[in-house]
């Protein structure tokens, strides 16, 4: 049996990246959130956040819509069913790995 630490390498890197995981975790708790909220949450610059969102959108995990609220442009992001499943599966996997790491004992040499 491989040690749980080795299985960390099998995690989906698209979801496991800290910023993208924070974005997907937040989006999985609501219908949608706007760019400002996600920027506040992650502390990323506009360019970096846009880049992360573009990756998630091209992977088919989130949907991005642009609209105007009054005269101010607003970018709204929502997670779709595939993205929601991906983040839920990822959290489950992390919990399993955490549990496995607590129970893991090194084999005697």
């Amino acid at each position: 049996m491989s040690a749980p630490f080795e299985e960390l390498a099998d995690l989906d890197r698209l979801v496991h990246d800290p910023s993208r995981l924070a974005i997907l975790t937040a989006l999985s708790a609501c219908k949608s959130a706007d760019f400002l909220y996600l920027q506040r949450l992650t502390g990323l610059s506009k360019g970096n956040l846009s880049s992360h969102l573009a990756k998630l959108e091209s992977a088919g995990l989130v949907m991005i819509e642009k609209e105007f609220i009054g005269k101010i442009p607003n970018t709204r992001v929502s997670v779709n069913k595939i993205g929601r499943t991906a983040v839920e599966r990822h959290w489950k996997r992390l919990d399993q790995l955490r549990q496995a790491s607590l129970e893991w004992r090194p084999e005697p040499t």
Partner: protein, 203 residues
């Protein structure tokens, strides 16, 4: 960001409206004004006394929804809640908590029990509120314990029962709204990060 923080992020996003604590401060102040107006020592006619808080409540709702709503949207962004996630909370609120509060007020006003039932119900309601809106925020546990302690004051001979005591319960609720709201806001800022990125011109 540690997993525990991500869980808090999930809880705050899920209940974003309720964590916008500054919204509750004007309502708390209006309740305190209402409570003061209910005091027998305040020289007001019987006809005016119950209505004196109404304009303050109207102003508080305007500040809470319009002014502070705009402030939060501008500085923290917008989140659309997924209402389907909160069906149980909504049902319990309308069919259990609010009727229980109304019934407790009637019991305290009519039968003057030695323990303030309304304060007990408010204590339980605050704990239910805390739990159903993302947990954490230990100040609400303190507030709930405070309400339970307050409910015992008539039995200890410190507070008279009746309408005067109900006014005091409303005043205490106002204090909890105001202080709890301020602490909620601080907690939300801590979780969402203290960096103000409110330049929304090109997003």
């Amino acid at each position: 960001m540690p997993a525990s923080d991500l869980r808090r992020v999930h809880a705050v996003t899920d209940n974003f409206f309720f964590w916008q604590g500054l919204r509750w401060i004007p309502i708390g102040v209006a309740l305190i004004v209402f409570s003061i107006a209910m005091m027998p020592a305040v020289p007001l006619s019987k006809a005016v006394r119950p209505w004196i808080g109404v304009p303050f409540l109207a102003i508080a709702f305007w500040l809470s929804t319009r002014v502070l709503g705009r402030y939060y949207a501008r500085h923290f962004g917008r989140v659309r809640m997924d209402l389907s996630r909160h069906k149980t909370r909504t049902s319990v609120k309308w069919f259990v908590v609010y009727p229980a509060i109304a019934a407790a007020f009637i019991v305290d006003a009519r039968w003057h029990p030695p323990v303030l039932v309304s304060a007990l119900v408010f204590g339980a309601a605050i704990e239910a509120y805390r739990e159903s809106t993302g947990g954490g925020r230990l100040h609400y546990v303190v507030a709930a314990v405070g309400f339970v302690a307050f409910s015992l004051l008539p039995a200890l001979g410190v507070l008279f029962t009746g309408k005067g005591a109900l006014g005091a319960v409303i005043g205490l609720t106002g204090v909890v709204y105001a202080i709890g709201g301020l602490l909620d806001h601080r907690e939300m800022v801590r979780i969402l990060g203290a960096n103000d990125v409110s330049d929304v011109s090109a997003v």
